[in-house]
């Protein structure tokens, strides 16, 4: 895996190279802990926006609550920091009312799969044309280290000092079974690869789900550490046969550290197209 090269850490280097993706960075300095995986994620996000040449004023990032919730403030675009678990409903309403905008919904693992877990099935089955970025560090960071819906079984956390009694959810399997038309996994330590996935997800017409593996350097010393992730993460060997649910499910089950696109259905209509067709037929 490539060494992380962040827009915040390597500003001079990137400017020298003539890459002007920094225009998508806002003037505000992130409040995340030094070494946080989220720096890598926003870095990939800036680059994806640059390469897609998105107009700043047409981007809206909608987030929930938690460390990931602050993301919109660090992006030079319209941003809406909403409620815990509710980035999906707000982003859906915004996109349906304003088809011309490029809408990203951002959530952490507690946000997306815990408190807001009820929204994911529906945005996926409706195939609303937004890109969903799940910042998955398997811990509640902003409240200081409690177990989340993806914390491994028996891992010790501040809410379960004797070990987490709950079996973790598998976000990729969920997204696949909910009927998301684009399902992928990226890694915060691989901004180039993640950038590519965000680009494809943004271009995808329909609901795009990206699980992003990322460490919490402060509250997770044993699971998703940089060291562990750098060792375990690898690129999925998959490109040609994306629209194969069976393979995707098998990979979701067996390859928890594989990054790349698990599933993509390019033919499926997104929600607005479906509505237009139905109302025309009516």
């Amino acid at each position: 895996m490539e060494v992380i090269r962040s827009a915040y850490l390597d500003e001079k280097l990137e400017t020298v190279r003539g890459i002007d993706f920094l225009q998508y960075r806002s003037a505000d300095l992130p409040t995340w802990c030094p070494g946080c995986g989220y720096f890598g994620i926003v870095d990939a996000f800036y680059k994806a926006c640059r390469e897609l040449d998105l107009k700043h004023e047409n981007i809206v990032t909608v987030s929930g609550i938690g460390c990931s919730g602050r993301t919109p403030i660090f992006i030079n675009s319209y941003g809406f920091h909403t409620l815990h678990g509710r980035s999906i409903p707000v982003a859906s309403g915004l996109k349906l009312a304003r088809e011309d905008l490029t809408v990203f919904a951002i959530a952490g693992d507690g946000d997306a799969l815990g408190i807001g877990g009820g929204h994911l099935p529906h945005v996926a089955r409706k195939n609303i044309n937004i890109t969903f970025l799940l910042f998955d560090n398997s811990i509640y960071g902003l409240t200081k280290g409690q177990s989340s819906s993806t914390t491994p079984y028996e891992m010790r956390t501040n809410s379960h000092p004797a070990g987490n009694p709950d079996t973790p959810l598998n976000p990729i399997k969920l997204a696949l079974s909910y009927g998301a038309s684009f399902v992928a996994r990226g890694y915060a330590g691989d901004p180039q690869g993640l950038k590519q996935i965000i680009k494809e997800a943004t271009l995808h017409q329909g609901f795009s789900f990206i699980q992003i593996l990322t460490p919490c350097v402060t509250f997770d010393k044993e699971n998703k550490t940089w060291k562990n992730l750098n060792e375990k993460v690898y690129e999925l060997n998959r490109r040609k046969e994306e629209k194969n649910m069976e393979t995707a499910m098998r990979m979701a089950e067996n390859e928890p550290y594989g990054v790349g696109i698990f599933f993509q259905d390019k033919e499926r209509l997104h929600y607005q197209e479906i509505l237009r067709n139905l109302n025309k037929a009516d």
């Binding site: 806002s26 505000d28 107009k55 700043h56 004023e57 047409n58 809206v60 909608v62 919109p72 403030i73 030079n76 675009s77 319209y78 941003g79 809406f80 920091h81 909403t82 409620l83 509710r86 999906i88 409903p89 707000v90 982003a91 859906s92 309403g93 915004l94 996109k95 349906l96 009312a97 304003r98 011309d100 905008l101 009820g118 929204h119 099935p121 529906h122 607005q272 509505l275 109302n279 009516d282």
Partner: protein, 586 residues
């Protein structure tokens, strides 16, 4: 011209056509030029044998309330009608089935329970229905035929209304309904000797403009479309569901989008998302759904994003009584949620004002970038009135966003501190207008800021908008203004207001010097007008449909004096008779 003011109730079992009969009756009477108000009550269960009552008031003058007691009770079903007899006037008229299919003991027939003074007309409803159609399904039409014969109602006009009601059905359905009606009509003319005083003979109402026969839910949907609604998200709940169903048909025709969500949290979230995108958006729900939406109400106020929630109140806490009416969401609408969270609350006082309130709600939400709650209740949502077709809203009500100009955009501050509290709002897609919104306390640029001075300044700004909102509040309705002193002032809100105004006017006729006050805008409240009114009144009475006197508590804080209360939680609408009785006792 003679006057008429009559309440007719049809009582039957679910599935007996009780509600359709009431609908035909009120449509026909409206067509004849009368004022009508009708209100059905039915069980929450879709099938089964629950009690249905179609209640219709017909009058030559303005109707304020549905009327507590009935002049006429048409009993399609003996078992249920025995209980309905309690709301028949002492000298009321009972029309009952004299030859029911299953012969029963005398005490099982509703006629055995009538009080002396009541007039009973036995019509073989079942037998005549069988004669006309071969089965009992035409009983409701036979009963309408009997009613038409007894009260000298135009037979041909009535059959036209029946034909119109079933116009989309097969010819055989139309014929059997019309035949049943005619069978009831001629049998009654031939066999019944009329001994009651009611008659529509010779009563003609002046030809009026075409009227809309409509309930509150339908009118809210119509108003929203007229006021440029472009997005609706909702989750089914009695008694608000009809609003979503109407808009699901109509909104796409207007280029809008309707989203049925997985829950009410998602519904209001999507509304706020659409509002953030600069589109007019709303949702409708009832108490239990409003409780879920409370999570998002603070965000609308804090991030200053327009949102409209319609809460059609039903009775009780929790799931309560879904098909009963009550006014018990006042507290949660006005002050539910966390923190100091000012919001606009409108409570239309009658069917007609549902239109004005909806237009106003969408306009105020957009202009003041805040939450507007519109409080209906089961009664307003479902009671049917004939009203003049409302005039479409003026253009200034259709586009009210205050957008930033070139100067504002130079160093754009989304939450700029202004004199009236309104900050120019850029809509996504506007170059140079980019901003960050949050439910966290923030500074003028939108960035999180928890400083003492900052929180105070922003809280003041959010409350300051309200002073301006008040200047746009519809004038309070006051029944008598040209006097300096009243013995009793009745202060009311929402759907109780009609009965309160009616009671105050009846009291005048009975020698009680009374006036009445109601305001559609209940938050912020036009306190000055209320105090001015109350200062003229020796005693104050506040009638409302809840147990704890939620509005009375609120008004007491403003008036700082004792108020008499009158509270009902019967699940029925407020009755002017009860208010008048209380006024006599005061």
């Amino acid at each position: 011209m003679k006057d008429i003011n009559i309440v007719i109730e049809i009582c039957g079992s679910a599935g007996e056509g009780t509600i359709s009969a009431g609908e035909i009756l009120s449509r026909f009477m409206s067509g004849q030029g009368f004022e009508i108000m009708s209100f059905d009550s039915y069980p929450a269960e879709i099938r089964g044998f629950g009690k249905c009552v179609a209640h219709t008031r017909i009058s030559t003058s303005r109707i304020y309330s549905p009327g507590k007691l009935a002049d006429v009770l048409i009993a399609l079903n003996d078992k249920h009608s025995i209980f309905q007899l309690s709301t028949l006037k002492e000298n009321g008229i009972l029309i009952y089935d004299s030859q029911p299919v299953r012969p029963h003991k005398e005490d099982k027939s509703v006629v055995g329970w009538t009080k002396p003074g009541m007039i009973s007309y036995g019509i073989p409803l079942n037998m005549l229905a069988h004669k006309a159609t071969g089965n009992a399904r035409g009983m409701n039409m036979v009963a309408l035929g009997a009613l038409a014969a007894l009260f000298y109602v135009d037979k041909h006009g009535f059959t036209d209304s029946i034909k119109a009601r079933y116009a989309k059905k097969k010819q055989i359905v139309i014929d059997s309904n019309v035949n049943s009606f005619l069978e009831g009509y001629s049998w009654t003319k031939k066999n019944i000797k009329k001994i009651d005083p009611y008659s529509f003979k010779g009563i003609t109402s002046p030809k009026q403009k075409e009227k809309l026969i409509i309930n509150g839910n339908q009118l809210v949907a119509k108003a929203a479309l007229d006021a440029n609604l472009s997005f609706y998200a909702g989750y089914p709940i009695t008694p608000a569901t009809k609003i979503m169903e109407i808009l699901s048909r109509e909104l796409p025709k207007h280029g809008g989008i309707l989203l049925q969500t997985e829950d009410e949290i998602s519904a209001i979230g999507a509304v706020i998302g659409a509002g953030f995108g600069g589109k007019r958006a709303m949702t409708a729900t009832s108490g239990p759904g409003f409780a879920l939406m409370t999570e998002f109400t603070g965000l609308s106020v804090m991030a200053e994003v327009p949102a409209v929630i319609i809460d059609s109140q039903r009775a009780g806490p929790s799931t309560g009584m879904p098909t009963k009416t009550e006014q018990s969401d006042f507290n949660s609408a006005v002050s539910g949620g966390t923190g100091d969270c000012p919001r606009i609350v409108l409570a239309p006082t009658d069917t007609k004002s549902c239109y004005e309130a909806t237009v106003l709600a969408l306009y105020l939400a957009e202009k003041y970038q805040t939450l507007v709650v519109l409080l209906l209740d089961f009664f307003l949502s479902n009671s049917i009135r004939n009203i003049n077709i409302p005039e479409k809203p003026f253009s200034e009500y259709l586009d009210a966003n205050i957008a930033p100009d070139k100067n504002d955009l130079k160093d754009y501050q989304r939450y700029k501190i202004t004199k009236n509290g309104i900050s120019p709002r850029a809509i996504p897609g506007t170059p140079g207008g980019m901003f960050f919104s949050t439910g966290l306390e923030h500074d003028a640029s939108g960035r999180p800021n928890y400083s003492e001075a900052g929180h105070l300044e922003m809280t003041q700004k959010r409350f300051r908008k309200f002073n301006t909102v008040l200047s746009e509040a519809p004038a309070p309705e006051i029944s008598i203004i040209d006097r300096d002193e009243f013995d009793i002032g009745v202060i009311s809100w929402g759907s109780s207001a009609g009965a309160a105004h009616e009671a105050a006017m009846s009291a005048q006729k009975k020698g009680i010097n009374a006036s009445s006050f109601s305001s559609m805008m209940v938050s912020p409240f036009p306190e000055k007008a209320l105090i001015e009114f109350a200062d003229k009144c020796k005693k104050i009475l506040i009638p409302e449909l809840n147990f704890s006197g939620q509005f009375a508590n609120f008004a007491t804080q403003i008036l700082k004096r004792h108020v008499e209360r009158l509270n009902f939680i019967t699940g029925r609408p407020m009755a002017s008779e009860d208010i008048l009785q209380k006024m006599k006792e005061m």
